[in-house]
């Protein structure tokens, strides 16, 4: 990667891709985003390769992992949500026809229980060259979704 970041990188690193054909293709495709990256780290070698990048002032983390032989899974954590039927239905209603779909990861047994909301996107390996546009659309979707989560958690309207 040759361009400089618009952010001070500090202790954060931009790693080179390991000797893995899919990760090398992903790293090459991400090159245009280099000025916006705050970090780029690759998973240790394993059956399913992957990387995590940090983007923007909020250091939004996006993981890109090989999901199957044909697909990459892009993951963007959004935040915590109260595990109420109304809130979960609101997320599911918004999944229709969207590139980035909501899913729920771990659930914390607080009162009321909280779950971690993630936006995910499946990308065929043949579409790796479109990764910059996919990552940027995910970044936009993630910031927009924060307002939704705040509203569903009852923090959206100060009036």
């Amino acid at each position: 990667m040759t361009q400089t970041s618009i952010w001070p990188l500090g202790d954060h690193v931009i790693e080179d891709a390991p000797d893995h054909p899919v990760m090398q293709a992903v790293a090459a495709a991400l090159e245009p985003l280099r000025p916006a990256l705050r970090s780029l780290t690759f998973d240790p070698p394993g059956p399913r390769s992957g990387l995590t990048l940090g983007l923007g002032s909020g250091f939004h983390l996006i993981s890109i992992r090989q999901h199957t032989d044909d697909l990459l899974l892009l993951d963007l954590p959004v935040g915590d949500l109260m595990q109420t039927p109304e809130a979960l239905c609101a997320l599911l209603e918004r999944n229709a026809g969207r590139d980035w779909a909501f899913r729920v990861d771990s659930v914390t047994p607080t009162a009321p229980p909280q779950c971690v909301v993630v936006l995910e996107h499946l990308l065929p390996l043949e579409d790796i060259p479109t990764l910059p546009a996919r990552v940027l659309s995910g970044w936009r979707a993630r910031i927009l979704a924060q307002g939704l989560l705040d509203a569903l958690n009852g923090q959206g309207d100060p009036l």
């Binding site: 000025p35 546009a133 940027l136 307002g147 509203a151």
Partner: protein, 157 residues
């Protein structure tokens, strides 16, 4: 009639002769992956660049004046309803990028997100443009969730 084909030179024209244009152009080049085009204008001593965002129906204006730099992004068109406008003004409290608005002809309001900076940020302008875009998305994400309360029934009885 076939529309004219836009070349990269049409969409990304070279900067005009203005003392601050090279610094602004350098920042725009860093963010070219976000943009579908830009335009330059010079008004007297002022320099204006208007950026069109790729995949987004919005634009960002950079206005470089003697006294500083203004960044201004179009955010959302909302009903001119007191509840929404009060919410916007309340949310402005302490924000770096504040909301401003103009009234449109159809009883709607165009919300923009705006901030002023000293000229000393010119070297880091790309970072501030990114911050402006993030702020606009945050504002839009919150604004999209504001609901106009229903009028209580029987008030007029």
């Amino acid at each position: 009639m076939t529309p004219p084909v836009m070349t990269p030179e049409d969409r990304f024209p070279a900067p005009p002769g203005h003392p601050h244009a090279p610094a602004v152009a350098a920042a725009l080049e860093q963010l070219r992956f976000l943009l579908s085009g830009w335009q330059w204008q010079v008004y007297g001593d002022d320099l204006v660049a208007v950026l069109a965002l790729r995949d987004e129906a919005t634009s960002l204006r950079i206005w470089v004046r003697e006294g500083g730099i203004n960044l201004d992004v179009f955010c959302l068109r909302v009903p001119a309803h007191p509840h929404i406008l009060t919410w916007v003004l309340a949310e402005n409290y302490g924000q770096g990028f504040r909301a401003r608005a103009t009234r449109s002809e159809d009883d709607r309001v165009l919300i923009y997100v705006t901030a002023d900076f000293p000229l000393t940020i010119l070297g880091d302008l790309a970072q501030y443009i990114w911050l402006a875009l993030e702020s606009e998305l945050r504002w839009r994400g919150r604004l999209m969730q504001v609901r106009i309360p229903e009028e209580p029934e029987g008030l007029s009885a």
